[in-house]
Symmetry: C2
Subunit: 190 residues, 2 copies
Amino acid sequence: MLRDLIIKNRSCRRFLESKKIEPGVLKDLIDLARLSPSGSNLQPLKYIISNEPTMNAKIFPHLGWAGYLTNWDGPGEGERPAAYILILGDTLIKKSFNCDHGIAAQSIMLGACEQGLRGCIIASINREKLRQDLNISGQYELLLILALGMPREKIALETVGKDGSIKYWRDKEGVHHVPKRKLEDIILSV
Amino acid sequence: MLRDLIIKNRSCRRFLESKKIEPGVLKDLIDLARLSPSGSNLQPLKYIISNEPTMNAKIFPHLGWAGYLTNWDGPGEGERPAAYILILGDTLIKKSFNCDHGIAAQSIMLGACEQGLRGCIIASINREKLRQDLNISGQYELLLILALGMPREKIALETVGKDGSIKYWRDKEGVHHVPKRKLEDIILSV
């Protein structure tokens, strides 16, 4: 059931880096995005796959990780993502991409989760430096990077407490706690 | 399997309007969005439900339908959506919403599809008039409207042809054809 998959699909930031993800798996995930809705059906999104250590190492330094965990600089060697999918907007097709990349990212992340992978949708990117290092043409706007791998952390889905904080946090055992707002607090009556 | 659900989940614009969707069903769909990723976990999205003819009739006139079907003004009486979910951005939480609403919309549409419903993610909205008619506070940015109902049209998923057109079209039998770009055309090599 979709609900089970959505609950299982927690953002994950530590991985079994040595567990390689084959290009065919990544292409199948992009195919899920291809078959998803796109504004005016324009389909302006393009994708770049990375699953080799050399290219992964070019991408990793340009990513921001878990802003609320101020004592953590991101995954260390051996626990970094095994693969990335870069989501780009082709400006020859469209100048702004509305929320197409959100739709695409959710299809990909759910598909990855179904296969036992986990990942993180990353928008905190040093875009210009990454563009230089990967030699990405100015034709493409860098929208999102999806970090993927076999998960190596425990994540607890919780409800926002009395203090109202939505900041995720890690306990002493390294469990990552994620507070979600209550359903009744996000539905408005008119 | 998720792939089957994603393929089944075609945007639909004609419905069995009389087939009411209960508020509990709509709330369960919003719960899927609630449990989906949100940038920095800020969860700035709020939702408004409409499933009554009076409120539906206030929403419908402010929606744009199927821009490429120039001879069609949208669904007629009896084939209009049975319900809507409005996705709003709470500007007291965040000023821009990145692609959070895309992620949320995809979770909701897949959940609706799993239950035999179909719908359409609509961004073409006369926002100011709708805001007036529903008396929506300026605190909320109107991001998307999800139109939902029991489907009353056939949709054919196809591959973009030699002319490269991505415009959907309807044949004489009323079947709605949707050309998607090829996978090899959306994956870039670097």
